[in-house]
Amino acid sequence: MTVSAQTGETGEAVHDVRLRVNGVVHDLRVPARRLLSDALRHDLGLTGTHVGCEHGVCGACTVLVDGRSARACLMFAVAAVEVDITTVEGLTRPDGSLGPVQQAFSECHGLQCGFCTPGFLTTITAGLEENPDPTHEEARDMIGGNLCRCTGYQNIVAAVECAAVLRRGGSRGPGPGGPHASITEAGGPS
């Protein structure tokens, strides 16, 4: 919730804001113009969320708002209240091991420099929640709003398909043919 505005050190009005991020409640005092992306990184120290273009084009800052993907640079922290926010830090399993989408990126070499990766991981996490078994075309469409300037899109698309298998309880088998070819469905040949 937002509490009545006060005046900060610079003379600019500030708001007391309560954010729920990765299941943790944070109270912070921010000016209204503080972007959610900056609040996550600067105020909360959650630097996994990256900021690229800062006007909604590149997708690097994508987070989940109530489970749906959203650009953190297109939201103000003061307006990001009364929702559950999930950042890339929240995608790991409770024991700290990699979540299925993260695991798929590791196995399919879905990243090079890694700058865009947090935005892809969140986008694909939400995308697979909505469509757990995407076709190749749907996998491409799922990541259409995210830019990778290393242009490693082939492996990112492969990672989407790999993650879909991992989410269903599949595992990576020892077979030849590259990382993606060796992903097998649960109960299938391995």
């Binding site: 937002t2 505005a5 600019e12 009005a13 708001h15 000016p31 209204a32 113009r33 972007l35 900056d38 800062e54 006007h55 909604g56 997708g59 994508t62 708002v65 749906r68 993907s69 959203a70 650009r71 640079c73 297109l74 939201m75 103000f76 003061v78 307006a79 009364e82 986008t123 995308g127 469409d141 799922m142 259409g144 709003g145």
Partner: protein
């Protein structure tokens, strides 16, 4: 790339929102923020006050019945796109929405916000215009209904008064003897279209709407013109401009090609519904 300072209000009722818009000079309404926040960040806009209507009660209702589709001001594009009732009642809304940006933007962006943002490169203002829809607004002077034909007055400029807030948009249902079509061409899927075309045909009329051609959403009546010639006829009412994405000549060519394609699609859609 940070917005200029502004005062922020998050009213809970429409009355509060209207009162704020009436009392605060240079106030701007924010719904999903997907168009407004980039403008603020690039400092192309610097309103003194933002009135965030996302917590206002009663603006998140989506209804589709025999009369048409009514979309509340806080209904997100993604929810309209996913609605089977909307698709059944007015398929042009669904067809055009799939071209609005990317899923992540559609999760936050609102259809009504996109309409009153009045961007001539956006899909939903043209859909409202070609279907003859309306927008409900509430302001200090009360409630009124604005027809699409009276809504778009200039680039990014609607006919809403500064103290008015749009509460819903209404799209008439597709009649049994009518058909619709939509197509656009963009550099990349999800980008703004170089040209987009929406068509509505029935037994006695054919209307085609254009986005990214004129500086306002523009509808041309092409009743009685063959589909193949309708684009050329429409160009008499259009002034396609050139920019880094497409030259004026290329846009004109896209008008010719897409108009024919979309009109044929609309006629086929009509026949598919059993109309003669």
């Amino acid at each position: 790339m940070k917005p200029a300072p502004f005062a922020y209000h998050r009213p809970r009722t429409l009355d509060e929102a209207v009162a704020l818009l009436g009392s605060e000079p240079d106030a701007k309404v924010m719904a999903g923020g997907q168009s407004l926040v980039p403008l603020l960040t690039m400092r192309l806009a610097a309103p003194a006050t933002i009135v965030d209507i996302s917590a206002v009660e009663g603006l998140d209702t989506l209804t589709a019945d025999d009369g048409g589709v009514r979309i509340g001001a806080m209904v997100r594009h993604a929810d309209v796109l996913a609605s089977p009732d909307v698709r059944r009642v007015q398929p042009l809304v669904t067809a055009a929405l799939s071209h609005v940006a990317h899923p992540t933007i559609r999760n936050r962006g609102t259809t009504v916000g996109s309409i009153v943002h009045a961007d001539a490169a956006a899909e939903m203002p043209v859909v409202l215009a070609v279907l003859g829809g309306t927008v409900e607004v509430v302001g200090g002077a009360g409630r009124r209904t604005i027809a699409a034909a009276d809504l778009f007055v200039g680039p990014l400029e609607s006919s809403l008064a500064p103290d008015e807030v749009a509460t819903s948009a209404w799209f008439p249902a597709l009649a049994d003897d009518a058909g619709v079509g939509f197509a656009e061409l963009a550099r990349r899927h999800g980008d703004y279209a170089m040209v987009g075309v929406a068509a509505h045909v029935d037994a006695s009329s054919a209307r085609v709407g254009y986005l990214s051609v004129n500086d306002v959403p523009t509808v041309v009546d092409v009743t009685g013109v063959d589909a193949a010639d309708a684009g050329e006829a429409a160009l008499a009412h259009l002034e396609p401009g050139g920019d880094v994405h497409a030259s004026a000549a290329y846009r004109a060519q896209l008008v010719r090609v897409l108009t024919a394609r979309v009109l044929r699609e609309a006629h086929e859609d009509r026949q598919g519904r059993g109309a003669a």
